[in-house]
């Protein structure tokens, strides 16, 4: 089975852990618990008939106390950048982390997730994504109701393994 390391990157409290929890366990909890260090999870996705084990590194949010260490990013095959649609500053943090990730692993597949889109609705989310003009595939996600969560992870799985999910 193919194994691929994928990292979740973003500011604190943007919903990285909730997105992983939604994707892996199909659950969402309103209770917020900050991530310390890295939480490792795994999920198997079928890409073009081949099982791919995604090793998900849910890395703590970047803030004054914790800076994302390059060693956490070493050897990753792809990553998801996560921001919170209700906190503009988290977009910038995600883009800064994108540059740092490229500095460690070079150009590997990635996608941008604008999370908590259930707070603004689909039309506004689509308008916002179009207006951002990001240089990568962008998804408006909601860990709360599951919107586009699976498709975002599957997109990354496809990209890192060079096929299409089935």
């Amino acid at each position: 089975m193919l194994q691929k390391k994928m990292c979740m990157l973003g500011a604190f409290a943007v919903g990285k852990t909730s997105l992983v929890s939604r994707f892996v366990h199909s659950v969402f909890s309103d209770r917020y618990l900050t991530t310390v260090g890295v939480k490792i999870d795994k999920e198997i996705v079928s890409v073009a008939g081949v099982d791919v084990m995604m090793i998900l590194w849910d890395i703590h949010g970047e803030d004054d106390l914790q800076e994302v260490r390059p060693s956490y990013l070493r050897g990753m095959h792809g990553y998801l950048l996560v921001s919170d649609i209700t906190r503009p500053a988290t977009l910038q943090t995600a883009l800064e982390l994108h540059e740092r990730a490229r500095g460690v692993v070079g150009d590997v597949p990635c996608a941008f997730l604008i999370n908590k889109c259930d707070l603004v609705g689909p039309q506004e989310t689509e308008l916002l994504i179009a207006g951002l003009n990001l240089p990568m595939r962008c998804f408006g996600t909601s860990a709360h109701n599951g919107t586009h969560v699976e498709s975002a992870f599957e997109f990354l799985a496809e990209q890192v393994s060079g096929g299409s999910t089935s």
């Binding site: 310390v36 084990m53 106390l65 260490r69 050897g75 990753m76 649609i85 209700t86 906190r87």
Partner: protein, 137 residues
Amino acid sequence: MTLPDRLVQSLLKNAFHLRYPAFLAVTRQGVIRQVGGHWNHYAIAVPRIMAPACVELPFLVGLIPLLTPFEFLPRLNLGQDRFVDIYLLPDEDLDWVLLVDAGDQSAVQQSQQARLESQQPTRARSGTSSLAGAGNR
């Protein structure tokens, strides 16, 4: 005045053992050659000699074979809040992977982190600063 070397060595040895070290040595081809230490402390099955390291311990995917002289990965939560610090060290034709317990430091950091984040807003106030003019849930 400095502590005699034998005391320093004794302190180091005891401090090290208090952190339940578990280790394995992996060939450049990713096969486990040696295993030892307190794997049961982490509720991990003892990795099998001659098995692929990344199958036995999936978090090693992408990290071995080691391409740098040393890697330190603090506070990996391997599930159910079992935190470990991981050290990766190359040695001639093998890479050593060392796990030590990081539960205590992680608990301290978690409470500091929670305190810091409670002082910072995680949601925009009604419609004033969100990317798309969103309010609270």
